[in-house]
């Protein structure tokens, strides 16, 4: 087992990883920027090091600062959390070069999945359904042919992109060339790679993702799917497991496909295969996230598997704690991402000082957060201040628990999205379970009609 782990992250995920390490008896080193000196993860870790000024690029994204800290404090492993350096292949390589175990997949696995065009190709080779699409586009003519073959709309994507960035929807021949050029320019600017590919664009699909974990002995299991269709501008707001739209047979097929994908790239660690579920019931691979995700908690609640703990165990060479047969998915879990944003003001971020803070509790209630009364949210990072997760024997019970928990949850001094989540949880369409990625837009339209 590792003798000391450095957590290259901040906020609630840093707290999450530190807790998992503590439970395994592993001392931890937290890194923090000057803006995070009073953050919870700094206080919980065994040791803490200031690695730079507030801007992420000079601190949480500074590979030299993080690796130096690991070396001077004698850490033999680094957990990257999510975001920041978690999917940077060169960071995994540099850790490797310095004899530090990167808790996650290899640089090679990351690269295979990080390059979207290569990922698609790998999926096709392994019988995983993908949306009809192209390789890297070489000409407008090629693109036009494809678009007319699968019929519009199509979507242009940066091959080095992800996270909802660098994408453009094209609805007809006239918009094609200009959008292709703009997409290439944006791809180059944001990701340093101008290569672009195209896919048939599914209108308002459901976003279904499957959690997998692999060890270094060739074992890979899946822990079922999550439904993350409730998104605003490609940012997830609320997630649930299992998906109300997936039956047992589809779950088995998707799980098997995700495992095939993971085995094809010798995947080690926790990962997620994202699929799009079309209105006709067909589903297609979209991309693979080679890290632990924000919403991993809902899967933990229904599978009783501690995903972060498993990450650490498999990284240290252990076999997976469970075989696929031992995995029993029970009940239903919903997660609300609590952000320091004003839902009445276009979700404008509201950093500032938290005065009062009272978190809900009770059976089936889980709060993963790094905030506390008197804590000042710095303006330099994302606005998520915590996650509220509720479990129930079925979806109705989970939903009702969430309803009560949101009512109990009090945060004063800043604006939060708690009231917004309350209105979603009570919404008729949400209750029905019959929604897709068009939910939020439709939700606002309905609210405006009422109001």
């Amino acid at each position: 087992m590792f003798k000391r782990v450095l957590i290259a992250n901040r906020g609630e995920i840093a707290v999450r990883v530190i807790r998992a390490c503590r439970e395994l008896g592993i001392p931890t080193v937290a890194v923090y920027s000057e803006a995070d000196a009073n953050s919870l993860h700094v206080r919980l870790a065994t040791d803490a090091f200031c690695i730079g000024p507030a801007p992420s690029v000079d601190s949480y994204l500074s590979i030299p600062a993080i690796v130096s800290t690991a070396l001077t404090t004698g850490c033999d492993a680094i957990h990257p959390g999510y975001g920041f350096l978690s999917e940077r292949a060169e960071f995994a390589e540099i850790c490797d070069m310095h004899g530090i175990k990167f808790i996650g997949p290899s640089a090679e696995s990351m690269r295979k999945m990080g390059d979207k065009a290569t990922a698609r190709k790998t999926m096709i080779e392994n019988n995983v359904p993908v949306t009809p699409g192209t390789g890297i586009i070489k000409s407008v003519k090629e693109l036009k042919e494809f678009a007319n073959q699968v019929s519009y709309p199509i979507i242009l994507k940066a091959t080095a992109g992800g996270g909802g960035k660098g994408m453009r929807i094209v609805r007809n021949d006239d918009e094609l060339e200009s959008n292709l050029n703009l997409c290439r320019q944006e791809a180059d600017k944001f990701f340093g790679n101008p290569n672009v590919y195209a896919e048939k664009y599914l209108e308002n699909p459901r976003h279904i993702e499957v959690q997998i974990i692999g060890d270094s002995h060739g074992n890979v299991i899946h822990l079922g799917e999550r439904d993350c269709s409730i998104q605003r501008r490609h940012q997830k707001l609320l997630e649930e497991a299992p998906s109300p739209a997936i039956d047992e047979e589809t779950r088995r097929e998707m799980g098997a496909a995700a495992i095939r994908a993971a085995k094809a790239i010798n995947y080690e660690g926790a990962g997620t295969c994202e699929f799009l579920l079309d209105h006709d019931g067909k589903w297609y691979f979209m991309e693979m996230n080679t890290r632990v995700q924000v919403e991993h908690c809902v899967t933990e609640m229904i599978s009783q598997v501690d995903i972060v703990r498993e990450q650490i165990l498999v990284a240290s060479g252990e076999k997976l704690s469970h075989s696929q047969d031992e995995i029993l998915l029970r009940g239903h879990a919903i997660e609300c991402r609590i952000n320091a944003e004003d839902p009445d003001n276009d979700f404008m971020p509201c950093p500032g000082k938290i005065d009062g803070y009272f978190a809900p509790g009770g059976f089936g209630i889980r709060v993963d957060s790094h905030v506390y009364p008197g804590y000042t949210i710095p303006p330099y990072y994302d606005s998520m201040i915590g996650k509220l997760i509720c479990w129930g024997e079925n979806r109705k019970q989970a939903r009702r628990r969430m309803y009560q928990a949101l009512k109990e949850y009090v945060i004063t001094g800043i604006k939060t999205t708690i009231p917004f989540h309350q209105s979603i949880i009570e919404d008729e369409v949400f209750k029905s379970g019959e929604f897709n990625t068009g939910f939020i837009e439709d939700f606002y339209e309905r609210k405006n009609k009422e109001g």
Binding site: E34, F49, C50, I51, P53, S59, P64, A65, S68
Partner: protein, 150 residues
């Protein structure tokens, strides 16, 4: 005053409560001096802040990784990076500077090693080194005070 144990205890309490080292009382008839064997007057070194040592200062609680030294007047040289501190360019070389050395802005004062790369740290100020707060091999974090220059 009445020289009894109660009174002496009161005086001792005053010493402790206020972090004093000595208290003398003389009312013309009787005099008493109580001295406490106190450690050096200490203050937590705050980065980028020069605090003159007051006549009586309270002993501050130890912080996780703060260096406790007498706080001197002067400007600070802080570390712009994370790494390991070395006072000289190699184990057998002379240190770049010592307490009392004269430095100009831009002079190399130490090395911070990170990932096997030696980074020369240059003085941001001109003056005399009044204090070196770290020693060879110490792990250094971003913004940590390395030296004072007056």
């Amino acid at each position: 005053m009445k020289l009894n144990t109660e009174y002496i205890e009161k005086l001792a309490k005053i010493i402790n409560d206020n972090g004093l080292t000595e208290i003398s009382v003389d009312d013309g008839e009787e005099a008493i001096t109580i001295r406490k064997d106190a450690p050096e007057v200490i203050s937590v070194a705050a980065p980028a802040q020069a605090v003159p040592a007051p006549a009586v200062s309270a002993s501050a609680p130890a912080e996780k990784e703060e260096v406790q030294k007498p706080v001197q007047k002067g400007k600070t040289i802080t570390s712009p990076m994370v790494g390991t501190f070395y006072a000289s360019s190699s184990p057998d070389a002379e240190p770049f500077v010592e307490v009392g050395s004269e430095v100009k802005e831009g002079d190399v004062v130490c090395i911070i090693e990170a990932m096997k790369l030696m980074n020369e740290i240059k003085s941001e100020h001109t003056g005399k080194i009044t204090q070196i707060c770290v020693k060879n091999g110490d792990p250094i974090e971003y913004g940590q005070v390395l030296m004072y220059v007056e």
